[in-house]
Symmetry: C2
C-alpha cells in the first residue's frame, strides 16, 4: 500500500484509513471498547499472531488511538483508548449496524444504560431534525458554506 496513493490524500476518509484501515486494527479497537486492555487479552480474544499484534498496537499508539498506561498490578502496562480512540465508536457501530442490516444473526442489541431501551439507529439529521439519507446531503467546499 503506497503512501502516495491516499496517505497524503486530503480526504478525511483516506486519512482515517491510514490509522485503522486494516482489519486487525479495527478488531483490536472493538475489543478495547469491550474492556480488553492487556496484550494477552487481545491475543486470546482475536487469535492474532503475537508479532502482528505488536505491530498493530504500536501503530494504534502512534496514531493516538491507544495509549500505554502502567498496569496497576505488575510492571507491565496496559493499552487503553484515548479520547481520539473513543471517537471511533461511531465508526465501529456504523459497521455493526451495516453488518446487521445485511442479514444474518444479530444476537446483541445496543441499549441505553439508563433505561435499558434500545437506542435509535444511527442516522444523519438536518438542523431541524429531519432525518437525511445519502441523497439528501452533499459535500461542499467549506468556503461555500461560510458564504451563506
Amino acid at each position: 500500500m503506497k503512501r502516495k496513493c491516499f496517505g497524503e490524500d486530503l480526504c478525511p476518509v483516506a486519512r482515517s484509513l491510514e490509522a485503522v484501515g486494516d482489519v486487525w486494527s479495527v478488531l483490536i479497537v472493538r475489543e478495547a471498547f469491550a474492556g480488553k486492555r492487556r496484550f494477552g487479552e487481545f491475543e486470546r480474544a482475536l487469535g492474532v499472531a503475537k508479532n502482528i499484534l505488536t505491530v498493530r498496537l504500536r501503530k494504534l499508539v502512534a496514531f493516538g488511538v491507544l495509549e500505554q498506561v502502567p498496569a496497576a498490578d505488575g510492571p507491565r502496562h496496559e493499552y487503553v483508548l484515548t479520547e481520539r480512540g473513543r471517537g471511533l465508536y461511531l465508526v465501529l457501530m456504523a459497521l455493526r449496524q451495516w453488518g446487521e442490516d445485511c442479514g444474518g444473526e444479530s444476537p446483541y442489541v445496543l441499549v441505553d444504560r439508563r433505561d435499558g431501551q434500545p437506542v435509535k439507529p444511527l442516522a444523519f439529521h438536518a438542523h431541524d431534525d429531519r432525518e437525511l439519507g445519502p441523497d439528501d446531503m452533499e459535500l461542499v467546499p467549506a468556503a461555500e458554506v461560510k458564504r451563506r
Copy 2:
C-alpha cells in the same frame, strides 16, 4: 488473513469487515458515492492497479455492495451502488467525521441539499432523543431486551 479468525465470527463488525475490510474497497465505495461508475473512472480517481481494481470490484459485486448494469452508451457496463451498498454511507461518513476530528484540514462540509445548511454531527440518541456517548450504551443479548 484467515477466515477462521473472524470470517465466521458472529460479530456483525467482523462480518462487515469481510466485505469492506480493506482500504481499496472503502475508497472505491467512496468514489461510487461521488458518482463514479466506470472501471476507468475508479482507476484514474484512485490510481489503483488494474488487476487490483478488477478483484476489488468483483468482490464488492459478490457481496452485494455494487452491481453491474449495462452502460447506456457502449457495450460495456457500469458499477452502481446497490441499496445495501448505499447503506455504507454511514460508515463512510463516520470515518470522515473521525478523520476530521483528528485535526488536519477539512476542506469539505456535509450539508443538507434542501437548505445548504450543515447537517448535525453523527451521534447516537436514546429513544427520548438524549445524545449518548460510548459509555452511555452497552451491547446486551437480544433475548434480554425482549424481556423488558
